[in-house]
Amino acid sequence: MLSILTIIWALIVGIIVLGFIAASAMFLIWWERKVSAHIQSRYGPMRVGWHGVLQSVADAVKLLLKENIIPAEADKLVWWLAPFIAIVPPVMAFVVLPFGKNLIVKDLNVGVLYLMALSSVSVIGIFMAGWGSNNKYSLIGGMRSAAQIISYELPLIISMIIVAMQAGSLSMQKIVLAQAGCWNILHPNMAMAFIVYIIAATAEINRVPFDIPEAESELVAGFHTEYSGMKFAMFFIGEYTNLFIISAIAATLFFGGWQGPILPGVVWFLIKSYGIVFVLMWVRWTFPRLRVDQLMGFAWKILTPISFVNLAITGWLLLK
């Protein structure tokens, strides 16, 4: 009896989460197009719905109806699996995201560790896509992506560890509760950790100025050059879900998560997350792209030392 209830509960939660993911990704795609358009003195999508708000739905329908083209020389199995592997980690990350005081799928006591583990998995999907397409541009894109994500893993993880040290727990809820009096971002060492985190996270999800795996002007579209229809849409949804995830993690770890006056917790959480998303979009539509060796150099020569120093300082502050 208990097990049936659990399964039903799990199904309901799963449907809600998946629904939220799809809605969020579609909203973010529309929003990105609007933000970019207004930055560029344009209107962006205006036809489908009020100010084109349903544009993403129309695009999704179009992509669903599109022919699924498989390159003749592709490594079929790898090529088929890649989009699924790329989309699963961001979906799984929703498990530990605290939307509100009780609004969390499962408050794992190793929540931060779980997120770190998941962020390393998505590179496999991207690399498989690059390899399986049997396209030289895609291969270069996949290789760049692997090198990039592995480099940026380190500063990303260290800056998350700093927060965990401060809170004394790896559980996401406990980290939020630890910020009850004062948001983490208000401590100078935490602010530094936030900057390192947001840079490394931007690199993790391959956005400008770190979008070298896609690098439109060099590699055409990088790892997803050969994908069409729904498979392309899966990469796309995965990318935008990732964008939301890293913003949500940043909001949780540094901006006090769902805590805030008057409004309910979930509203505060979404406001903070989408605020960070907006900043990332704003950055994306302003800056040029770094070159691959500069990107690596930046990760190893600047970000990693800074985060190590930051780690040492935080440890000293805690022990003092």
């Binding site: 933000v35 358009a37 207004h38 930055i39 344009r42 209107y43 704003w282 950055v283 539509w285 302003t286």
Partner: protein, 145 residues
């Protein structure tokens, strides 16, 4: 080390300035038009498709001689020693909208209209008989006069 950190600060400052430029334009009105519903007015001398006032034409063949892409073709017949137009074909596919025919015409019979939305589904429609009054009816509904 001082130089390094100075460069670092200058670099960060340059990034912030870039962000300031983009956010400045983010809240200014857009400059584009929503094309099929909004259209910019054509200038007075706009060079669109070639049009003809057949009654003015004196059949001097200047336009045919001048056309760099040979897109105009005229035949005439003699009626009591006066040349009159028989056919005036205009092959829009070849036309490069240079306006030389309009400029060279001594009787101002050839004019450049303001029709610019000129895509058609059937290639044969690009071969236009300029003597036909209704030749551009299909296209004029898309154009602001």
């Amino acid at each position: 080390m001082i130089k390094y950190s100075k460069n670092f600060v200058i670099g960060i400052w340059s990034l912030i300035k870039g962000l300031a430029v983009t956010i400045k334009y983010c809240f200014r009105p857009a400059v584009t038009l929503q094309y099929p519903t909004q259209k910019r007015p054509m200038s007075d001398c706009y060079r669109g498709l070639v049009g003809l006032h057949p009654e003015k034409c004196i059949v001097c063949y200047q336009c045919v001689k001048m056309c760099p892409t040979a897109c105009l073709a005229i035949t005439h017949k003699l009626e009591d020693k006066k040349k009159t137009l028989e056919t005036f074909k205009y092959n829009m596919e070849l036309c490069c909208f240079c306006g030389l025919c309009e400029q060279v015409c001594p009787a101002d019979a050839i004019v450049m209209t303001k029709i610019y939305e000129i895509s058609v589904y059937d290639r044969k429609k690009l071969d236009i008989n300029l003597l036909d009054d209704k030749k551009y009816d299909e296209w004029t509904h898309t154009t602001i006069k």
